[in-house]
């Protein structure tokens, strides 16, 4: 095992048996990537790194000493203990091999992102999300729900290193200490891994259903898409483009391009998302290419097949990544409106094929140009 792979693991290498090493979040991402579901790229700082930090220079012993006599009911006491341990972790330098590994991991992540350049200081301006994930060696199923910290807009390696330490320190928040004491978990048997994931810099984003939400037709994928981050679509602040794809034939069945007045965009230098008015030609232009529509539709079909039921998905096209790796799935949940009911039959029970032929001949095609009731059939597009 090289130093790098001991202390960091790319998501795609986070296999299911690595839960104790990298936590549930990263193994979840790893299994999605291996199932062909593209997620924002990143890596996990393993519990080995955490343990190397604690083992280095006797930090572990210092923490144990500080924790002696802690009382889970003494809120003020726990706060003081937490603060003390936190500053010990933050103030102590990382073991050099751990720091080297995290630097390399971040640099690798940056190199995936063509749009991100080295800044004047030799650092990189790629924003990442840094999340903690506690694991207990002997208690793989222990839940530390609600105790995970997430830091958004972490930009540059120095910032990343600081936030990894903050994640480690978060294992000793007053609440976390009390939680373990109440359940009888040994403090020294609980470790911290840290998940570092690229923040989505969406050029276009939106939601999609693996069926047509208008009529429940399961041969379709329906995509709502707009410029920038997906918030504008989710909140209904824009009328998104709507694309309907036949997912069996994998052909675009219908495109409705809307006028899209605003977008949410990431401003890395200000570490925030800004609402921006779209004033250029993008306003009226489709926010997805035909290829992207089809890539998304194939993704929708795979995710639906994986879960074996219709899905409601959030996705983004990341401006920093190169195609075809720029299409990202952000969220997937079961579709509930149509999936939970029986198909409505189109057929009238007793109709034979001859009845259909006669009915079809009798209906014909309405032809008057501009007639809003034009029912298009036959050779009609």
């Amino acid at each position: 095992m090289t130093a790098d792979s001991r202390f960091i693991l790319k998501f795609e290498d986070c296999h299911d048996d690595c839960v104790a090493l990298v936590g549930g979040k990263s193994t979840g991402l790893g299994s999605m990537i291996r199932a062909g579901v593209p997620v924002p790229p990143g890596f996990s700082v393993t519990t080995h790194a955490y343990r190397a930090m604690l083992g280095d220079g006797g930090l572990e012993r210092e923490i144990a000493e500080i924790l002696e006599g802690a009382d889970s009911d003494d809120v003020d006491g726990l706060d003081a203990i937490s603060e003390k341990i936190g500053s010990r972790i933050i103030d102590r330098p990382m073991p050099p091999e751990v720091e080297t590994a995290i630097r390399a991991g971040y640099k690798d992540l940056v190199s995936l992102c063509s749009g991100r350049h080295e800044s004047g200081t030799g650092d990189y301006d790629l924003p990442v999300a840094v999340r903690s994930s506690a694991t207990a060696e002997d208690l793989p199923n222990a839940s530390f729900a609600g105790q995970q910290d997430t830091f958004l807009w972490v930009v540059g390696i120095e910032d990343v290193l600081t936030h990894v330490k903050r994640c480690w320190a978060s294992l000793y928040t007053a609440r976390a200490i009390a939680y373990r004491m109440e359940r009888g978990y040994a403090h020294e048997k609980v470790y911290m891994s840290v998940c570092i994931q690229k923040m989505v810099n969406a050029r276009s984003a939106g939601v999609m259903f693996t069926l047509n939400p208008i009529n429940g037709d399961r041969s379709k994928v329906a995509i709502d898409a707009s410029w920038g981050l997906g918030e504008s679509v989710a909140s209904g602040e824009v009328t998104p483009d709507n694309y309907l794809v036949d997912k069996i034939a994998m052909k675009i069945a219908r495109k409705t391009v809307s006028s899209k007045a605003i977008e949410y965009r990431a401003i890395p230098s200000e570490r925030r998302v800004a609402l921006i008015e779209i004033t250029d030609e993008r306003r009226e232009a489709p926010c997805l290419s035909d290829d992207e529509i089809l890539v998304l539709s194939r993704l929708a079909r795979n995710v639906e097949a994986h879960h074996q039921r219709p899905q409601d998905l959030e996705w983004a096209i990341d401006a920093d990544l190169e195609p075809p790796n720029n299409v990202l799935l952000l969220q997937s949940r079961p579709e509930t409106v149509w999936s939970d009911q029986d198909r409505t039959q189109v057929s009238e029970a007793s109709n034979s094929t001859m009845d259909y032929i006669v009915a079809n001949l009798l209906t014909g095609v309405r032809l008057r140009p501009g007639d809003p009731e034009s029912a298009e059939r036959g050779g009609v597009r």
């Binding site: 047509n212 009529n215 037709d217 399961r218 041969s219 379709k220 309907l244 036949d246 069996i248 034939a249 052909k251 675009i252 069945a253 219908r254 009226e284 035909d290 198909r343 039959q345 189109v346 057929s347 009238e348 029970a349 109709n351 034979s352 094929t353 001859m354 259909y356 032929i357 006669v358 079809n360 001949l361 009798l362 209906t363 014909g364 095609v365 309405r366 032809l367 008057r368 140009p369 501009g370 007639d371 034009s374 298009e376 059939r377 036959g378 050779g379 009609v380 597009r381």
Partner: protein, 606 residues
Amino acid sequence: MTDTRFPNPFDVPTPEGCEGWEDLYPYYYLFSEERRELEESKFWFFDGMHHPEVLYPFDTITSESWWVALGEMNSRVYIVPPALGIDHRVLNGRLYISANAITDEAVVGARVAHFMERAGYYYEHWDELYAKWQDKARETIEELKAVEIKPLPEMEDIEVVHSGRGLTSAYDLLVAYNRVVENMHKIWHLHFEFLNLGYAAYLTYFGFCKQLFPDIPDQVVAQMVAGIDVLLFRPDAELKKLAKKAVELGVGDAIRDEPDPDAVISVLEQSDAGQRWIAELEKAKDPWFYFSTGSGFYHHHKTWINDQTFPFSGIADYIRKIEAGESIERPLDDVIAERDRLSTEYASLLDGDDLKNFNEQLGLARTVFPFIEDHNFYVEHWHHAVFWNKMREFGQIFVDAGFFEEVDDMFYLHRFEVEAALYDLIASWGVGTAARGPGYWPKEVARRKVLFAKLAEWQPLPALGEPPEVVTEPFTIMLWGITTDSIQNWLGIDAAEGADYDLSGFAGSPGTVEGVARVILNADELSDVQEGEILVCPITNPSWGPVFSKIAAAVTDIGGMMSHASIVCREYGVPAVVGTGFATQRIKTGQRLLVNGAEGTVKILE
């Protein structure tokens, strides 16, 4: 939006120099005062699909044949509830057609039971009746081939006396002419014995798919029934076989490097291998070279059997491909595999009655489809190739008698005039005095040729009269693709402003291709088409087979999703946009185009 109706046929001016064009056609073809009220009330559209060129007077026989046969099968045989036939008129030499709908609901209702019984019988016994049909079609062609057209002798053979025949060559000639004409009508009756029913079944399945899976692309619906190895592709398959055989026998060079078929044959005759190849060629010819490079509707459409330049250049192209190590096989297995994948996956989304009905309707559509795809070879290709040659035998007799300068001059007379000329000829032969023909027809034909050339300059209006609210005639929908969109297009209502394309039509065959345009107005220019070009033409023909393996995409003026171009392009895996209306007018050879066969759009890039 501009006007919602097309010019009144009575208001369309006669182009300068075309005065008197009406005399070229039988009286019943003309818009006339006697039927003015009726004719003004109808919507007529230009049948550029079957009759894109000025109708030669004699060639109206093809239009006449389907005028009658299509109509009577709808109106008198199967009693299609809301549809009678399709009416024909000629205006400025161009064929305009109009579907006859029945609008009285009581009448329509009364026809339903008859239709159920009659059409139901055909659907139920389709395979058996279609097998019988194939025999009838072959017999009809054999009958045509068997008609003997013999010149009039100076003196009847002694056998006429010894056998006590009592009939003469003049009588035989008159009978032969009528036999050939009758035979034409016969084959067209057969043509429509199944076609209307086939289309009705297909359209029903199509509509049901659209109900089950709203927005399912048209071509996907078609893909689920296509892919059966159709006769129309056999001639091209024979060329491939001959190309392989030539390479195998080591005579590929001789065929590849010499464009003149006669020269190739005389070289090949010199060697054993060459003679073996010629034997293979002869085997393939009957019937597969009875194949028109046009639609077969006009006498001048070249057939492979008359002019082997086209099949030989096809063979030469295939030899080059084989030598370059390219595959010349059509991706038929892929087409079939994809067809089955699609139908299985769509069916898997259904249950209950929908599943049952989908399977039944798909099953019926697949049953009727071989006829829809194959009838064209029997009738327009095989039969008509024989028919036009038979008529030329009469032309030769007239040339020999001084009626015409060239054999094909006969086609400037309509069929009743030919019969009249024939009477003129046999009467003069019988009586022993001069016929009027030699003094009359050469001048008249010369006049008609001038008139004809003038008519050819006229740009036909896409339609006449007011579009109806409803079209129920299956052909109009399926074959001509008469829709809200196409009518708007014809009315000059441009594609939505800012649209990212210059022409729109039907998505005939999927795929997106950028390439250089080659505008082809008739089959004779086909040899100009270069590898990788985009073919732009009024309408394509299945017999252009070898061209389809050369081109990057096809764009046509006319056609719907079941038109020949669409079918062939889907089979060859070549993107196609059909029924654009104006492609050959808007696009010039050499322009770069972006053809999107899935969207049905064409963009002119430069």
